[in-house]
């Protein structure tokens, strides 16, 4: 454990800056190439939400284990903490989108002059001032709690003081409760209100489970990248195994919620509910089924055996598939409602995602270099190193 500090190399900065440049170029292409305000706004919303969700899962990962007082995750805890530093960036990007005219091109309910009977009933919740108030409440809570968790965790690392251990648990518990509510309402606000006539009470959990799976996939990918760079040498196959179990389980959890939503709507067959799946099955047929193959079939079948969860050679490709799969899931959540049948996957979609990924890894690695990479003084650090799974 000699490489305790992560050094932000020039190479990492350059790669992420090139990726950000690709994103900006494709955004300019979308703007000047006349792809329409709706499609650009939808792309920005979808990518911001996707990477914001991953960042929130990083924080959730730390918080949930702090409450459970589990030991094994201590060795990879810094990855989750560093991921959470993207939350304020995502907040700024969303705020920019909403204040620069994104609201009117994304959400039908903002056009207050011609609302129909159904939308008029929802005006009490879906109106711009209340929408923005909720926006600031979510981000105030997330950013403050993320900052507190990070600060407490770093103080705990100084000498393993039990006081900070207990405080980390308390702050984490507050975050979990706050996040339980806001993860649902934020996806109602930003994603479900795109199809404002339609509603599903399961939606918040469905989006959360999607974030959970993609966030776990990103933790695995980043762990692999760090190991390739020569860091995180203390992380062994046992820890990778547990992350693999998470990826396997959360993928099935996602499919469970996806199906619960789909089957009830399919069975009840009420027009105001089926309209959601009607558009997606008619114009987004390939994406719709690809979503299920990438996010359920691949992780379920490939990660079923014990050995495939322990080897990066198998786990890494599956993580990449799940990462792309949940991007596609987010695509079929946002695009049909905003853009409709003209939507496609072109330079704008792919380039902008590369740009966001670049921004994400820049923030991630920058944050990672600010603190010791190995939480040596955490009370459970030894337990984490000695950890092993029985057969």
């Amino acid at each position: 454990m000699d490489n305790n500090t992560f050094i932000l190399s020039k190479k990492v900065i350059n790669i992420s800056l090139i990726m950000i440049a690709i994103g900006l170029i494709s955004l300019a292409y979308g703007y000047f190439g006349g792809l329409g305000a709706g499609r650009i706004a939808a792309n920005i919303l979808m990518n911001t939400f996707y990477f914001l969700g991953i960042a929130l899962i990083g924080l959730f990962f730390v918080a949930v284990h702090a409450i459970a007082e589990s030991g094994w995750q201590v060795s990879v805890q810094r990855i989750g903490e560093a991921m959470s530093r993207f939350i304020p960036v995502g907040g700024i990007l969303l705020l920019a989108l909403f204040s620069l005219g994104g609201l009117s091109s994304l959400y039908e309910w903002t056009h207050t002059e011609h609302l129909d009977a159904i939308l008029l009933k929802k005006v009490g919740y879906l109106n711009v001032p209340f929408f923005m108030i909720r926006f600031f409440i979510y981000f105030a809570g997330w950013i403050i709690l993320a900052w507190l968790i990070r600060k407490t965790s770093l103080k705990l690392d100084v000498d393993g003081d039990k006081f900070y251990f207990n405080r980390l648990r308390t702050v984490s518990a507050i975050f979990i409760v706050f996040y339980a509510v806001t993860s649902v309402t934020s996806s109602f606000d930003w994603l479900m209100s795109i199809d404002a006539h339609w509603f599903s009470t399961l939606y918040g959990w469905y989006v959360f489970s999607s974030m959970l799976a993609s966030g776990t996939a990103v933790i695995i990918i980043l762990l692999y990248v760090l190991k390739r760079m020569g860091y995180m040498t203390h992380v062994n196959a046992e820890h990778v195994h547990d992350l693999g179990k998470y990826l396997f389980g959360f993928s099935i959890f996602w499919a469970y919620l996806w199906f619960s939503q789909y089957m009830l709507i399919w069975y009840a067959n009420i027009p105001e509910e089926t309209v959601y799946f009607y558009t997606r099955l008619k114009y987004f047929n390939t994406i719709f089924f690809l979503n299920l193959v990438l996010n359920l079939a691949v992780p379920l079948l490939v990660l079923m055996t014990r050995n495939s969860k322990r080897m990066f050679a198998v786990l890494l490709p599956v993580s990449a598939v799940v990462f792309i799969g949940h991007w596609i899931d987010m695509y079929q959540i946002v695009m049909p409602g905003v853009v409709g049948k003209e939507a496609g996957i072109g330079l704008l979609e792919i380039g902008l995602t590369v740009g966001y990924a670049g921004l994400f890894i820049l923030v991630f690695f920058h944050s990672l270099s600010k603190a010791p990479l190995v939480p040596k003084n955490h009370p459970y650090f030894k337990e984490s190193i000695e950890y092993h799974t029985n057969y």
Binding site: M263, N269, M304, R306, N390
Partner: protein, 171 residues
């Protein structure tokens, strides 16, 4: 009933060391009995991975297939009923039952396979070679049925060298 050479320990660290030492001398313990799970004992005993997962997979696959095809047969051939204009072969509505059958069969097949393999379950005879094992002692059992006198003495000597606190012949 078979005869066993039984050696007991008071400490689990000594036990693991003892098991490693006698295995190095080519003596394979038939079983090690402990009052609580001891970490690292599996590896020290050289136990192979449990094959229970394969049973679970087979059971789950059988259960899922039975669940799916039974419904398909009932709703298309045996007793087709029109539910709200849905097609008779309505795959989404089969899924919950298929899922539950998969889980049920996987769980039951695991429990049954475990009981059969370990000769456990209702009516099984409890065999305790040393009452103290249920309290604070750790016990290594080595089969002594086909052992001749010098071989038995060699094993007893090896056990004593491996730190056993008491050795006896049990049956």
């Amino acid at each position: 009933m078979s005869k066993f050479i039984s050696a007991y320990y008071h400490d689990e660290e000594d036990l693991i060391k003892g098991v490693r030492q006698i295995r190095n001398q080519g003596i394979e313990p038939a079983d090690v009995r402990t009052p609580f799970p001891v970490h690292g004992l599996d590896k020290a005993m050289g136990m192979k991975r449990s094959r229970l997962t394969r049973v679970a997979f087979a059971g789950g696959a059988i259960g899922g297939l039975i669940g799916f095809f039974f419904q398909a047969w009932v709703f298309t051939v045996a007793y087709p009923i029109n539910f709200g204009g849905k097609p008779f072969f309505a795959v989404p509505s089969f899924m919950p039952v298929t899922f539950e059958m998969t889980v049920l069969f996987a769980a039951f097949s695991m429990v049954i396979a475990f009981f059969i393999h370990n000769k456990l379950g209702p009516g099984a005879k409890t065999i305790i070679y040393d009452e103290q094992v249920t309290d604070d002692r750790f016990q290594i059992l080595i089969e002594a049925d086909d052992l001749d006198e010098p071989e038995q003495q060699r094993i007893e000597k090896a056990l004593k060298e491996a730190g056993a606190q008491g050795i006896q012949l049990t049956s």
